[in-house]
Amino acid sequence: MDFLGNCPQYIANGLANGCIYILVAMGFNIVFNSTGIINFAQGEFCMFGGLLAYTLAASLGLPLPLAIPLALASTAIIGAAMERLLVYPLRRAGALVAIIATIGASIFFKSLGRVLWPKEAYKVPEFTAGNISLPGATVSRQFLWVFGLTILSVTAVYLFFNHTKAGKAMRACSVNRFAASLVGINVMRMSLYSFVLAAALGGLAGLINAPYASYSMGLFLGVKGFTSAVVGGLGNTFGAVTGGIVLGLLEELIPGFLTVVLGVSTGYKDAVAAILLIAVLLLRPQGILGRGVVEKV
């Protein structure tokens, strides 16, 4: 099999994975903008989304149009609980404390997931089963849902931040939290909203990331989502879109190239995001779309 012949398939898969990364990356961005924290438990929201959808739809037998909003709402409640119980008490703490606290939350969530859903993998029902044949590639129908829902979410987030009062208030927090509080914005409430939104987006990512969900999916999704956010420029919605697609495509094309042309194992795929993350952080820390300098003292 030749590499160029496989390219359409790699691109299709890459775009589909990229959409998932976009949703996770937007979650990182929203929380970072309104609280200044990188939420290391963001990947675990995806795990809850996927596994709750499994429980509601496959185990309890609820119809999908009911199960999916319920799963998203439950994930959002978990996000809200995390904000109130952990992030709110730490609102004046330094970066290191916040990092370690969210890592603690991520360990806790992952272990909770393992207790509640102990099997290695659960099959999350697809919205519509079956495959579509395109010239040079075969994609499952689920991919159309992934594309559609991602475009919808990005648009909704964009409209929320630019055309609603709460969204504008959250953007004000990202510019300067203290100044935002001076003009009467309830910064702590914005922090709560941001966690709810980020958890729901993460839950959506985990739930459409069919066909399988497991308790251990959080870490890698989290790292990949963060990589996408950084590649595009942390805090920037369209940056997340660019970063997600770039990462999704690179992650298919580079290992594809290495395997087909050089005959290397496909296992290196897991390292692509990590290497890209280090490279971008060192060479262009403001991201591909970022303007200005992040921090220089």
Partner: protein, 369 residues
């Protein structure tokens, strides 16, 4: 590096021709009371721990060997994270590199173990030098970059099957040894590991009180202020990073010869995260806190495993304890961060001081800012 810097602060007065003062033995004893007390505690430990192991159904000495190994790497991480304020979520990478270096050199090349472990330190330091540019980053960015570093090393250990054997790991790694003597008994391994660990602890507790230690704490508070006071900020950060990599390599080398079987999954991100947990729970900016943290995290699973055997009756939910371990750990980390951000040992010490003087409040203190 450690010895010369530790010594340079002590030279005052020597060159002015004043008569050499008599060594102050009592003062030295008092200053090193903790170190000496701990050394005595470790040396007599087998005497009471071996008879106790059976009734408690915890293999105390067997577990303590690993505590020693983790204490070495946790102290290194604490220098980097607690003292110099540079988060590393990839310390497991150096541990893994050290373990694989020594394991491969002794099994494939035929090096003796006492030569394999120094090589492990050297290779880990080399990787430390190569990866030191990540120290240009700060805060969250540094945390994520070091996490990525850990993932890359883990993936390469898993995939470079021609060298590392991939998921099959390296088997039949020889026992620890000193020249002409192989150490095979559990008690011998215990002493071997802890003598190394106590030397490391002694050097590190000297280091943190030296000029370099003060420089580390200064740059932790404010890099600009430290730079203005003449601290070469990036050079100090780099040196601490390489030192912590070296300690990681040393611990990894010891680990490989204790376990005698290693595979990449032992050095995944989970290891790095539990190392961070040891440092955080034990206490940032506290050499002895890391030892406590290492002990707590290593003994916690053994303790709860043994619990049903004490009770006789096994409740159903306790049987699969390993599942709950992460939940307990997560809760401990979160509570520590919210209520005692400077760590349990340091928080407790502050609590005692708070009873005496109202100026120190452990609950109000910001550990890091």
């Amino acid at each position: 590096m450690i010895a010369s810097n530790g010594g340079s602060g002590k030279k005052r007065g020597g060159s002015y021709g004043s008569p050499p003062r008599r060594p102050d033995w009592m003062g030295m004893l008092r200053r090193n009371a903790l170190l000496l007390g701990f050394t005595v505690f470790i040396m007599v430990m087998p005497a009471w721990a071996v008879p106790l192991s059976k009734p408690l159904s915890i293999p105390i000495i067997l577990t303590m060997r690993l505590v020693g190994v983790y204490a070495i790497v946790a102290v290194g991480l604490n220098l980097l994270m607690g003292y110099a304020g540079q988060v590393s979520l990839g310390q497991g990478a150096f541990f893994g590199i050290g373990a694989y270096t020594s394991a491969l050199l002794t099994t494939k090349v035929g090096f003796p173990v006492w030569l394999g472990i120094p090589c492990a330190i050297l290779v880990a330091m080399l990787f430390g030098v190569l990866l030191a540019p990540v120290l240009r980053l700060k805060g969250h960015y540094l945390a994520m970059a070091t996490l990525a570093m850990g993932i890359v090393v883990f993936v390469f250990l898993r995939e470079m099957t021609w060298l590392t054997g991939g998921n099959d790991g390296v088997r039949n790694i020889p026992h620890l040894s000193v020249p002409f003597l192989e150490i095979t008994s559990t008690r011998g391994e215990f002493y071997y590991v802890w003598i190394v660990a106590i030397i490391v602890l002694a050097l590190c507790s000297r280091l943190v009180d030296s000029r370099v230690g003060r420089a580390m704490r200064a740059l932790h508070q404010s890099e600009v202020a430290a730079e203005a006071m003449g601290v070469p900020v990036s050079a100090v950060k780099k040196r601490v990073f390489i030192l912590s990599a070296a300690l990681g390599g040393l611990a990894g080398g010891l680990f490989a010869h204790l376990q005698r079987f290693i595979d990449p999954n032992q050095f995944s991100i989970l290891l790095s995260i539990s190392l961070v947990t040891m440092v955080v729970i034990g206490g940032m900016e506290s050499v002895w806190g890391s030892v406590f943290g290492a002990g707590l995290i290593t003994f916690l699973p053994k303790l709860v495993e043994a619990l049903p055997r004490w009770l006789g009756e096994v409740p159903d939910w306790l049987e699969r304890y390993s599942n709950y371990e992460g939940m307990i750990l997560g809760v401990i980390i979160m509570l520590t961060m919210v209520f005692m951000p400077s760590g349990i040992t340091k928080g407790m010490v502050d609590l005692v001081r708070w009873r005496r003087s109202s100026f120190v409040n452990p609950f109000r203190r910001k550990a890091v800012d």
